[in-house]
Amino acid sequence: MGKISIKRLEWALVVIALVVLVGGQALGAEKKFSLADVPEIKNKRPIHVTLEAGGSADLIIPYLQKFAEHTGVKVTSESMVFASLYSKVIVELIAKTGAYDIVVTETSWSNEWEDYLYPMQDLAKEYDPEGVEGLERYLAGHDPGLLRMCSTVDGKLMGIPYYTYTLIYIYREDVFNHPAEKANFRKRYGYELAPAQTWEQLRDQGEFLTRKKGEKLKGEVLEKNVYGLSMMAGRYPHVQDEVGARVWSRGGHWASPVRDEAGKLIGFKVTEKDKRILQWAFEDYVRNLAFAPPGTLSGYWDFATAQFAAGNAIIIPHIYNSLWNWASSVEDEIPGAKAASALVPGNRPYTGAFHFSPSRDSKNPEAAYWLLKYIGSYQNQKEMAEGGWVSVRRDVLEESQYTDPKWHRQFGWARASLDTWDEQLEDVDDYLHFNSAAFGKLYEMMTIICHENAIQQRTPKESVEEWVKVFTDLQTKHGKLPVL
């Protein structure tokens, strides 16, 4: 009897422990927002959404339809290429045409478009039964650095990020791990061949891996020229990101923020330190071009990725993580090839994201708010990520299952991106990109200056002088804060 009682007691304790454990987990785990949580939307007016054409942006369209089916609010969309996105949308916003209810906003446009977009906090107060606190709970799975980039100087969140294109370093792991290549590199440079952590190492790697037809790579005779680095020096915004990665990594700024004693931003200044670092960045960029394939001077991301995917280049030192899927297709193209990713040298590359923002001229801000929450939700981003989407949510990317090799082609970019976000977090607040209301215009001018430096139309020193001149002009004309 005594034995039975003890046994019963043991069972009872086990059951109680299980109940406490499972129940506790259920109580502790935050319920993730999903489509089912979108409440009845009173305003049934259709909404029109801009999308960035190309890449995997089309993946989002089925989710717009799911939202329409669930809520009864018709959702239409309009895709436009990135090059024309800014010009088209800004005109509609300024003219208050109400053409778009939700617009695609690049993180660096958040301050510039502030006057034409609803802050998310305002919409949460108006339409969300859980209010601003509910919105904040929902945003807990997002990256705080990315959220800062989608916000104004004053902390108003101008949309919800849904797609990232953080720069990462993609390389041929099979080449880096090849014994002969490793040994030769160590012999020549005196250290191990591994993903470059400094710009000097990158230059060494570019030089080492640039081989002519007839030379050997991994012990095999090459049938074509192979280049160490694949870059994007054409007159597109990407060349600016490549130069900018160098500037930020050395603690420089395109223009440094000037703050008052209370820490409030009061203007910008291109300091002497900034000028020195900018000049070095321009010089270093040109030096690296010696190891890039022909065509680089007019190339952009498609060129750079194609070079890697076709086996013409061994490293893409700064490429958007959204291109991982394409870049890793080198594994299908070249027998034995293996792609891997790491942080860009210096750990401070551009960390961009698109966020969907509700237009102030929307006829249905209520539906716009809920659609944004739905697109940026955990469940949605997870589904999309598994289909090849470049999710912005940390809670999705950090799931341990995705480190399994079977997810390599979908998530091979994730760790490098998360580490980049962590590294960047403390600096985001100081970058001109996320503080100037003139940045849409500055971006274009940076592009031109970086490109003209790359084609050596100007010397690095002249490029810095040109930047200071146009920055002063554009910031004064289009910005809200002065150049000091």
Binding site: R235, P294, G295, S298, E444, I448, I455, Q456, K477, H478
Partner: protein, 306 residues
């Protein structure tokens, strides 16, 4: 009123139609709709552009009158003058090549040969393709590694050329794209001219023993001069506004930025409406001056060719 006065009054009272169709009014009646359309879609934007060119206007705040400051800024801008210089270089080279090629091919086509209709039809094709689509098409065909042009060159062991990405070559690639598209225009205008030349004059020259070169230079070319000037006139207007070949290829990079791309960048990327308007007015002014000169030449040539 007497009966006679009433009859006279009825005789003199005219219907609206009679008034409008009278010689003194009919021209105005016919021209008013055109003037209305022109006013709405041409004169209004033109004068608004002129008005804006004297203002600082970057969309964020109402326009601010600044006099001729935008023009002063533009005229002191080195990038602007580089763009103007490149535009005129491209203009001169393209027109010279198009006319030379156009004349040569038109002379070849001005005879009967088998398959003439098919070949002429094929020659017309570049004109029918959208200029933007064509610039994208050439961008791919001239790609340094994957483009068909370099594939052929490599196959011939001539080596690949950086058509679009070499700063020394890119401007010529842009010219080539434009020439490829617009040479058929010269061919067919000149061919129509050749077909319409008076045969008796050419026959008389032949009977008098004039050489082919002499006949071409002193008769054919002179009689075709009005058409040549029309081609130059139209191509000048179009080439000052050259844009599409850049859009699909270099986007103004690699040292190929020209006047219209510069205007586009200022007006529709920076949204500096005032400066963009001043640039547009400058471009229009240059076009008008050039066209006025060419128009005078055309009138003279018409007089000589008669």
């Amino acid at each position: 009123m007497t009966e006679r006065a009433v009859v006279k009054s009825l005789e003199t009272r005219k219907t609206v139609w009679q008034v409008l169709s009278a010689d003194a009014y009919i021209k105005w009646f016919l021209i008013v709709p055109l003037l209305a359309v022109l006013s709405a879609f041409m004169f209004y934007p033109l004068f608004y552009c002129l008005y804006m060119s004297f203002h600082e206007y970057v969309l964020r705040a109402p326009p601010l009158y600044i006099g001729v400051e935008n023009y002063r800024t533009v005229l002191h801008d080195a990038v602007f003058w580089q763009a103007v210089g490149r535009t005129f270089y491209v203009l001169v080279v393209c027109i010279a090549v198009e006319l030379s090629l156009g004349m040569g091919i038109a002379l070849l086509f001005n005879r009967e040969f088998r398959g003439q209709n098919t070949i002429r039809g094929v020659c017309l094709l570049p004109l029918l393709i959208s200029p933007l689509a064509m610039s994208l098409m050439w961008n791919y065909m001239l790609h340094v590694q994957f483009g068909i042009v370099n594939q052929v060159l490599v196959w011939l062991r001539l080596g690949a050329v950086e058509w679009i990405s070499n700063p020394k070559i890119a401007i010529y690639s842009i010219m080539f794209i434009s020439i490829w598209q617009w040479t058929p225009f010269s061919i067919f205008v000149l061919l129509a001219g050749l077909r319409g030349l008076p045969k008796d004059a050419l026959e008389a020259a032949r009977v008098d023993g004039a050489s082919r070169w002499f006949t071409f230079r002193r008769l054919t070319l002179r009689m075709l001069m009005p058409l040549i000037i029309i081609i130059v006139l139209l191509r000048t207007m179009w080439l000052i506004r050259i844009f599409d070949p850049l859009y699909g290829t270099t986007r103004g990079g690699v040292g190929t930025e020209m006047l219209d791309w510069f205007i586009y960048r200022i007006a529709f990327v920076f949204f500096d409406v005032g400066k963009g308007s001043a640039l547009a007015i400058f471009s229009l002014y240059v076009t008008i001056v050039l066209c006025a000169i060419l128009y005078r030449q055309l009138i003279k040539a018409l007089g000589t060719a008669r």
